[in-house]
């Protein structure tokens, strides 16, 4: 019954990640794409909330979108897995449905 949630906005711009983390059920996954990749960075105001959410929800971040923004995979919060578009497709197939938090 696991759902894949995609979040495409930075938590500094919109609260969609917050809403997503509040409503995502244990066992589901969150994939950060586009400007959402900012939430995967260590040492920001939002890093702890993401790290705390990872006790029940798996986090992934889209590598090409990190790279496009000059953000390094080395600065990603521990436990978040970096995937490419092929990994995005795999995540979509492995979960029962995909919910975009636009």
């Amino acid at each position: 019954m696991a759902m894949l949630h995609t979040v495409n906005k930075s938590p500094f711009e919109k609260n969609s990640l917050d809403s997503c983390m509040r409503l995502a059920k244990a066992g589901s996954s969150v994939l950060l794409i586009e400007d959402g990749v900012v939430a995967a960075m260590k040492g920001t105001k939002h890093s702890n909330a993401v790290a705390d959410a990872m006790t029940d929800v798996s986090f992934y971040v889209l590598g090409p979108d990190l790279k496009a923004r000059g953000l390094s995979e080395n600065n990603v919060v521990d436990g978040i897995k970096v995937v490419d578009y092929s990994g995005f497709v795999d995540l979509a197939t492995e979960h029962e449905s995909v919910q975009a938090w636009l």
Binding site: E34, Y85, V89, A92, T93, V98
Partner: protein, 130 residues
């Protein structure tokens, strides 16, 4: 697996049509089927035949047309969203008394039923927008 994709944002706006295209391309490369991409709201502008982006930039509408041609992806523009934004195919232009049309190759205009059908037929529906 059978994928349906919904694009709610225009080309060259933020990133939705790029993300959607990269996702579709990757899914096809991995042997999945993308049977329909439904363009809604400003997303209908992805289907214009009149875009002339700079030579060194990606040509978003052409890129979709080629994907449709090479992998028989059904590219559907929402009719109500298209009419509001001046996107007309030959039939719609005639019906509305317009002298020209601007729907790129591989795209067709149809209704929301096609989105609902995609939701029913696809194993996964993936949404891209702003």
């Amino acid at each position: 697996m059978k994928f349906g994709i919904l694009v709610n944002e225009g080309p060259y706006t933020h990133q939705a049509s790029d993300s959607a295209f990269e996702f579709a391309k990757s899914a096809i490369e991995k042997g999945h089927e993308v049977f329909r991409v439904f363009f809604y709201h400003d997303g209908v502008n992805n289907g214009t035949s009149l875009a002339v982006p700079p030579q060194d930039d990606r040509h978003i509408p052409n890129r979709w047309s080629e994907l449709a041609k090479d992998h028989s992806v059904d590219l559907v523009l929402c009719v109500a969203a298209a009419q509001r934004r001046g996107m007309l195919d030959e039939d719609e232009a005639k019906r509305n008394g317009k002298t020209s049309n601007n729907v790129a190759e591989g795209f067709r205009i149809s209704g929301l039923g096609q989105l609902i059908e995609a939701g029913i037929q696809a194993d996964r529906m993936v949404v891209f927008g702003d």
